[in-house]
Amino acid sequence: MSQPGSLRKTDVTLTINGKSYTRQVEPRRLLVDFIRHDVGLKATHIGCEHGVCGACTVRIDGRTARSCLHFAVALQGAEIETLEGLSADGRLAGLQKAFHDAHGLQCGYCTPGVLLTAEEFLSENPGPSEQEIRAALSNNLCRCTGYVNIVKAIANAARDRDKTKADPAGGSRP
């Protein structure tokens, strides 16, 4: 099976949320562990480590991805974004407010992954149907909410986005 061998570590530099981080890690270091333990950004969570649950969802080069299915060493030069980054520059404010108002989260463990899925989906699908929202949520497992209020929150956020697009000057600010 695996020969213990010398665990050579190499310098890996990743750009996360616009900042560059260099750490000495083994090639097998998963991206999710690099983000969480080597850099210290703990919003990205681990639920299964086999690419199913979505708790570890981040963005790689602008698209959602499972950070448990990538090796940090293979992503040098890529743009990684986590909830911390997207939240800090306010891009998710509308969604976060909608989730808060609709009780779209309970324990909060799946929430970072769900927010990134929802942001990607809404930016590509203005005015989605409920069934389309549910299909998009096949990207994430949640065990607490039964998805009911998550779907409602995303639908509300979609409506608010349309409103602000349609009438950026007046109307309700997100």
Binding site: M1, S2, Q3, P4, G5, L7, T10, E26, P27, R28, L30, D33, E49, H50, G51, V52, G54, T57, I60, R63, T64, A65, R66, C68, L69, H70, F71, V73, A74, L75, G77, T117, E120, F121, E132, A135, A136, S138, N139
Partner: protein, 294 residues
């Protein structure tokens, strides 16, 4: 689980990749999207000594409409192919199948060639490749060879690539004029691994009769299978309920099904019959594109 140690290579040219394969052979695995490979590495079912990432070989990242088909390079991401203008127009079956592959984040990073090379018995893309007689371009430092899909898929997780070869690209033949296609699968949950699935493309003659049917079925124990007898039986007939039901019954009797705790063999066989019938009725009724799920 955390993966076992390995040495990492990231050549920036195809030749560099092929050189690594020549040197390490079976001890090396190709890392493209990683959506099939890395779960097995994390669960330590798969412990390659050398991982060769092709993500830095820009030359492999293309979706090209060529003369006789749509060519997807080894780095063509599933999501990009699913939304490629030419793919949608000229390879609708491929796009319909891609809607069912994994979840959105898997498709963003997973590659068409990666899923084909992995050859999971319940994966959608091998069924499409078999149905359309796609060509797999196998590359090694010794040169290239074109492997037709029916010779590429050997069994569960088993393809016919040599240890020093990689799947450089796949070419999906375009759908002929007056063709309609449909991909249906059904599982114990509305999203996730299927119990059985059907990839179907039918080309109609001027008279509305079926001039050419291409049908592959997944859900057996090994890998998707082409249902050539059914295709022959369909040729020349007008697809109606009776014909569709008979085609379903015939296909079900051909496919080698196995039972497991998700579904027993009898159910799988009956499901294949129903899905083939419904796929034919869907194609015959013109509502060819099934609902776009994510």
């Amino acid at each position: 689980m955390k993966p076992a140690p390995f040495e990492f290579r990231a050549p920036t040219s195809l030749d560099g990749v092929l050189e690594e394969l020549r040197e390490h052979g079976e001890a090396a695995r190709i890392l493209a999207g990683g959506q099939s490979l890395v779960p097995l590495m994390n669960l330590r079912m798969l412990q390659p000594s050398v991982l060769v990432s092709i993500n830095h070989c820009k030359e492999l990242s293309y979706i090209r409409s060529e003369e006789d088909g749509l060519a997807c390079g080894a780095l063509a991401r599933q999501w990009d192919v699913e939304h490629d203008r030419v793919a949608m127009e000229r390879c609708p079956l491929l796009v319909q199948a891609l809607h069912h592959v994994g979840a959105r984040s898997n498709r963003n990073r997973g590659t068409v060639c990666g899923s084909l090379a992995h050859a999971d018995p319940l994966a959608e893309l091998p069924a499409v490749a078999l149905a359309l007689d796609a060509d797999m371009i196998a590359a090694s430092s010794a040169g290239r060879r074109v492997v037709p899909a029916r010779e590429f898929f050997v069994g569960a997780l088993e393809n016919s690539l040599r240890p020093d070869e990689m799947l450089e690209a796949v070419r999906f033949p375009y759908a002929p004029a007056r063709s309609r296609s449909c991909f249906i699968e059904l599982g114990n949950r509305n999203h996730g691994f299927a119990i059985a699935g059907v990839a179907l493309q039918v080309t109609f003659g001027e008279d509305g009769r079926c001039s050419r049917a291409r049908l592959a079925v997944m859900g057996g124990e090994n890998i998707a299978r082409r249902a050539t007898d059914t295709e022959t039986a369909l040729a020349g007939s007008v697809i109606d309920e009776a014909i569709a039901r008979e085609a379903g019954r015939m296909t079900a009797s051909l496919v080698d099904v196995a039972g497991d705790f998700h579904a027993d063999a009898a159910y799988r066989r009956e499901l294949v019959a129903v899905l083939v019938e419904r796929a034919l009725m869907q194609v015959a009724s013109g509502a060819a594109l099934n609902a776009r799920s994510n």
